[in-house]
Amino acid sequence: MRNFIDFLIKKSSWIWAILLTVVSLYLVFTQNSYQRSVYLTSANRVTGEIYKFSNQIESYIHMQRNNRQLLEENARLHNEVETLKSVLTGFATDSIYYGHAFANDTARPPQFDFIPATVVNKSISGVNNFLTLDKGLLDGVKSDMGVISQTGIVGVIFNVSDHFSVVIPVVNPKFRVSAKIKNSENSGSLGWSGPELNIAQLEQLPKHEPFRSGDTVVTSYSRIFPKDLVIGYTVSVAKSKDDNFNSFNIELASDFHSLQHVMIIRDRFFDEQRKLEESISIP
């Protein structure tokens, strides 16, 4: 017994090291995948504020490019307004009163609305890629909401605190979304397995799906994203894991290196749809 205690005292530093290693490995295997702990991620208040500060400095560097993008966006919206205006004038001059046709529709609020947010931190150098946004629970953000940029989809909200939220982006192996090539009816599954930051894979397409370079890839049936949102463009045929399916390499439309401003999609009927769908699966 005495020898044993002597042994413990002599090796106590090693025991302490092993204990701490076990604690860390416990964190690796429990927290990383699905545990949604706010305290140990960048969604918490302290780390969020620090990142917000460093992002303020960083945003100056990207200001010129973002400014140009905003101008382009502005111009596009302006055009749209003009087009709609002319359509409206067309209606007004029409002798038939069109109000009845829209009466029922306008009573129902639009399904989607958007919360603008800024990226305050991003980790896109390795495997565990994520983004932190400056909007949280108090702004109406919940987990499982979709996130888009001006050019394409960005990811899904994974974890939310009062003021911040963490996004699992398309460029994370955990992210999967149902996608299809525009003008085709066959859905596949889009995922990213690295290492290039702008190339994802569209898998499980039927064998007869033809490949054309530059085709637009859009979302199909997804609970998180509206239909027909741009994801990216086809670049080449990828090696397929399974001979029965085709795989394409997709160049992502969102540029994760310079991403700064995003929109969070709020789906008014998300809970309603989920409830309805769950009622089928649960006996």
Binding site: S13, W14, W16, A17, I18, L20, T21, V23, S24, L25, Y26, L27, V28, F29, Q31, N32, S37, Y39, L40, T41, S42, N44, T47, I50, Y51, S54, K122, S123, I124, S125, G126, V127, N128, F130, V166, P173, S193, G194, P195, E196, L197
Partner: protein, 172 residues
């Protein structure tokens, strides 16, 4: 003694701040990321209490994990390195070195360089293998380890070269 303590705390905070806001965002050719915070363990005095080294290594890893959303990964790798620091020091530095002696590139170039190379490569190997546990293939992980180690080593030597001159009064 007191001054060196302040120096350690400043180094601890500054390394975490730079690692999380700058270094971890660098990715040269998609493979090389400088992982510099291990420099803290290198710069502790040789005779420093082992418990102190292990605990501060663990805390450093954990704080970095919290910022990078990778709970446990950096903490595990850094704790193991902190525990192996003492045996490694015994290999590269002679035992009669002064207790408060801080390894640096000017004072003992040869053993310092070897010590830093070993400790950095071990740290990154642990880190990338813990990270790559489920994803990705072996060759990509190995390329990442060597590319990142090389970049980290260059940065550490450059930093040490600068630091020693600026703070020679404090450390000596």
């Amino acid at each position: 003694m007191k001054v060196s303590m302040i120096f350690e705390i400043v180094l601890f905070v500054v390394l975490i701040a730079f690692q999380t806001t700058i270094f971890s965002r660098i990715s040269v050719f998609g493979v090389a990321t400088p992982i510099l915070y291990v420099y803290f363990l290198i710069k502790l005095p040789i005779g420093r209490n082992v418990f102190y080294v292990i605990t501060s290594g663990f805390l450093m890893g954990l704080i970095i994990d919290i910022f990078l959303n990778t709970p446990g990964m950096n903490a595990a790798a850094t704790t193991i390195i902190a525990a192996l620091r003492k045996p490694l020091l015994n290999v590269f530095f002679s035992r009669d070195d002064y207790e408060e002696f801080v390894p640096s590139i000017y004072s003992s170039t040869k053993s310092f360089v070897r010590f830093v190379i070993i400790i950095t490569i071990m740290h990154q190997t642990l880190l990338f293998f813990i990270e790559a546990f489920t994803f990705f293939n072996l060759s990509y992980t190995i390329v990442r380890i060597f590319a990142s180690s090389a970049l980290t080593l260059v940065t550490i030597f450059a930093l040490d070269g600068l630091m020693y001159r600026k703070s020679s009064g404090i450390q000596a």
